[in-house]
Amino acid sequence: MFVLVVGGGKVGYYLAKELVESGHEVALMEKDATRAGQIADEIGSIVIAHDGCEGKYLGEAGCNRADVVAAVTGDDEDNLVICQMAKHHFDVPRTIARVNNPKNEALFRHLGVDEIISPTRMILGSIEQDIPVHELLHLAALGEGELELIEAHLQAGSPAIGRAPKDLAIPDGCSLFAVIRDGVATPLRPDTIMLEGDKVIAIGKQECSDLLHSQLIGDEVENAIEA
């Protein structure tokens, strides 16, 4: 497989190194000539010391025959442009972008980037699993990101406590399918009564998350926090 990596920071460097070691054909683009030289000294002449956002240099790097383009620079706007150029101008089948600002995830997805990796979101997710949060926790995006796996921690004030899924107005395109109670996960049936402290696992479309939030977390809790 031919993988074009753009951005020779820590992520790009280790990514290229691992890919080379596992036998893939790799080209790494890094616009800083000094940094590019350092990497070339270590992993060989796969480094192109040019800006991967420039159409001309992407073309010269063989973007049109890449199986995967991974844009892993530290700048979201650069990663977006690299992936869009790869996808729409060079017909690359698979584009992957590193996204630093979680707010940009939806935009990137909407604009056609195939896969989005957000280190900020991942670390945030990890922290939120350990502290009480009054937000839905997005565990994973499924397929092309249309569906999401969501966790809601039911705390005092949640309208779902003492009720069963069949009594809630669950939006279309969503389903509640499991509950984690005292560390044990069990399937959630339409008539299972939900208790305070339960973690309810749902699957649903992104646009349902507001409705799901009001059903499982409650609106008052959020207002109280903001006040």
Partner: protein
Amino acid sequence: MKIVVVGCGRVGAALADSYDRAGHEVLILDVKTGAFDRLPSTFGGRAIRGDGSDKDVLRRAGAEGADIFLAMTEGDNRNVMAAQVAAETLGIERVVAKLNDPVRAEAYAALGLATLCRTGLMHDAINAYLGFAPSDVVGMLGPTGTHPGGTHHDHQAAPAGEAHTASAAVMEA
């Protein structure tokens, strides 16, 4: 008309000032307050410090409902991102992004943005002055294709971009 300009460099400031004097409602954004020194003291529009590629900043600055959006910062990629946020998330119809790389300018025109390439414009201006034929480098390009979101202007298809707009509006309310 309501016109948003992102980037208060020489070009952005000149555009903002002239549209303001022509009686349009002008909003200009830049990440550096010092950049607004380029505007004349007579400027009657609004100048707001903030990142013009951040949809929340644009909303708070009042960019929603604008007729025209001009992304004129020094960074090609920042302009592309701001222009796409304006077109896809805020639903602004007429969007122009300044792009100095001709390859990117052409590629994004095909993706539904109007693009402006200084390389081509200057090349043609110099050729015209010297009496040479126009270059084949792109200058000002209208959109030659549709938005990547595709269904943006098709209200039948419940486009994802408008769903985001709606949910963000709810969160702000």
